[in-house]
Symmetry: C2
Subunit: 346 residues, 2 copies
DNA sequence: CTGTTAGCGCGTTCAC
DNA sequence: GTGAACGCGCTAACAG
């Protein structure tokens, strides 16, 4: 179990020497293949265990056996990551699957989108990863061109419809938006607004499109679609602007929790009561929602499971097992906590 | 600049073939060493660039040139990570330094402390990392034994005094506690409490010891030292218990922001006003502090810079440059926002 | 000087 | 069960 001080990391050659057999035999034994007697095999395994041997990742990768590593680039301002509950939880979910399989996660955090594309090429050229996760999918995403070009296995985390031929793992945003709008309509609201994320993201567009369509279907007036950068301040500003209108919405759906929290503060500061005068609904349910006052009703996704699904899909792709062109979907549920109420009388 | 479809990742052999020279010559050219004419060198570099060549990480590692990778194990319940602003920001800081140098971060998130030790051995045996960051330092930390045994370069993120011969990067917690207590005393408080983190962590002990010492020095009564797991719920419970005492504290210092937020809610729910009846001070200033009502006063550390310092130190260690046994320190400053007020009249 | 050849590091695998 | 070759980049020894 130990590997005593200073001997350097154990190799097959060392094990071969100690057991008095060839390196090839050791390899067969360690990999559970035929070619060695049960007796020698046992001896070899014992010595390997004593030395704490593990195969050199470098040697395996060199032989073409894969790197046992997958990559994730998070394109965000580093300082913003601390409050972005999504990524850390998503990474934790990924880890849960990877570590069981002996895979490691190579991470890069950078605010620079160009760097992300470069990183994919570098990782591929240097043979550092067997596959990658691609998040924040954009319309006509140039990263897909690069990945197609170099042929690096990838799983798109997002709307499958925009993922071309890549395997995708996505949540059913349109369905969630539909459920939310139904509930909002049920509470008597007729004028609603949508405070969304960055316009470039596919999931922003999907949600916005769904809002408009469902609004029309339900006879509601979607008075505004506002794009933000997901920041607290953007939520404050958006809410203030909406409330300053001649005919302000009576309910607002936010694309993340941080903007929704900002909106509650903005409304309260203006003397607008939540939910009596204004209903607020957040997308993604982090602890922030419970900390807000009143606590926020939210569309809850199981982000940990989302990460796990993405990781399982990528590993399957890397294994070449299923030709996983298929689509996975996790669903969001509406958690009501008090920021969502009946529409005020006209 | 591209590497066209399907050709597989470019190798030195390919470049050699295209330029009509030997692989050795290509290697010399690519590494800026003498042995090739300027002319050939230029040709080689051009082809390499066109193919998007990058050295195989595996081959380099195999040759003993290092893996250009460092590791970090985060021992936390995955679900808790989403609200733990510390680690994500810390990781972002690390990344800022690593990516400039072409290093990658290998990450593992696991709730199992035993797994962490195992991971260090595996990473070392498999030659996956050149060094690691060690966080959440404990008293008589068994991980230090393992790292000493295998001789893997490591930087301890925490109190240098407990880091044995390892290089350490730590913040001056005792100094910060001192400054906080001075300010609390200045506001007239005489009965204070400290709601700390897990007892096993060195930095918990350091802070607790500092609190008691400074309290005595300032003639204050530290009525309680409570250990928690940093969770919101633990903050709620701790606050309720403290307020239920015969002589409750008039000010409480919390070791993280989440417990402090929980405490504000618990106090408010009991009809105890913050800061009129009870002053609350958080350690580490994440956006949560601003979202709380009233916004929390906090001991602010520059966690991003903390991560950067740790990364720089580890890289120096890996390079073998400075024999960085030295100690770094970043200081916390007190940000007052309104949860800290004058002591109520007896 | 300009360039080539050969062998290393480590695990895997094919032929014997 | 053994010996040898392979994958890839680096470098010491050697040749023109």
């Amino acid at each position: 179990m130990a590997g005593r001080t200073g001997r350097g990391r154990p190799t097959i050659a060392q094990i071969a020497q100690r057991t008095g057999v060839s390196a090839g035999a050791v390899s067969y034994a360690l990999n559970g293949r035929p070619g060695v007697s049960d007796e020698t095999r046992a001896r070899i395994l014992a010595v390997a265990k004593e030395l704490g041997w593990a195969p050199s990742a470098a040697a395996r990768a060199l032989r073409g056996g894969g790197t046992a590593t997958v990559g994730l680039v998070i394109t965000r301002e580093p300082a913003m990551l601390g409050i972005e509950p999504f990524f850390m939880t998503f990474v934790a979910g990924i880890e849960e699957v990877l570590s069981d399989r002996g895979y490691a996660l190579l991470l890069q955090v950078t605010p620079d989108p160009d760097r992300e594309a470069k990183t994919y090429r570098e990782w591929w050229s240097a043979n550092r990863v067997d596959g990658i996760f691609l998040t924040d999918l954009a319309i006509d995403d140039p990263r897909l061109d690069i990945l197609e070009d170099i042929g690096l296995p990838a799983v798109v985390v997002g709307e499958p419809a925009y993922a071309r031929d890549f395997a995708a793992v996505g949540s059913d945003d349109a369905g969630a938006a539909r459920a939310a709008m139904r509930r909002i309509a049920e509470l008597g609201h007729r004028r609603v607004a949508h405070v969304a994320g960055p316009e470039s993201f596919v999931h922003t567009r999907v949600r916005s499109a769904a809002m408009l369509e469902i609004g029309a279907e339900l006879g509601m007036d979607v008075v505004a679609e506002v794009n933000t950068d997901y920041s607290l301040q953007a939520g404050v500003t958006a809410c203030e602007d909406l409330l300053a209108r001649d005919e302000p919405p009576t309910a607002i759906l936010f694309d993340n929790d941080l903007t929704a929290v900002g909106a509650v503060r903005a409304a309260t500061a203006r003397g607008v009561r939540v939910p009596d005068d204004l209903s607020i609904l957040a997308w993604d349910d982090s602890p922030l929602c419970q900390l807000s006052d009143p606590p926020l009703s939210a569309l809850r996704r199981d982000i940990l499971a989302y990460g796990e699904d993405a990781a399982r899909t990528l590993l399957r792709l890397v294994d070449g097992d299923g030709v996983t062109q298929s689509v996975r979907t996790s669903t969001a549920t509406l958690v009501e906590r008090g920021s969502l109420g009946r529409a005020p009388r006209a």
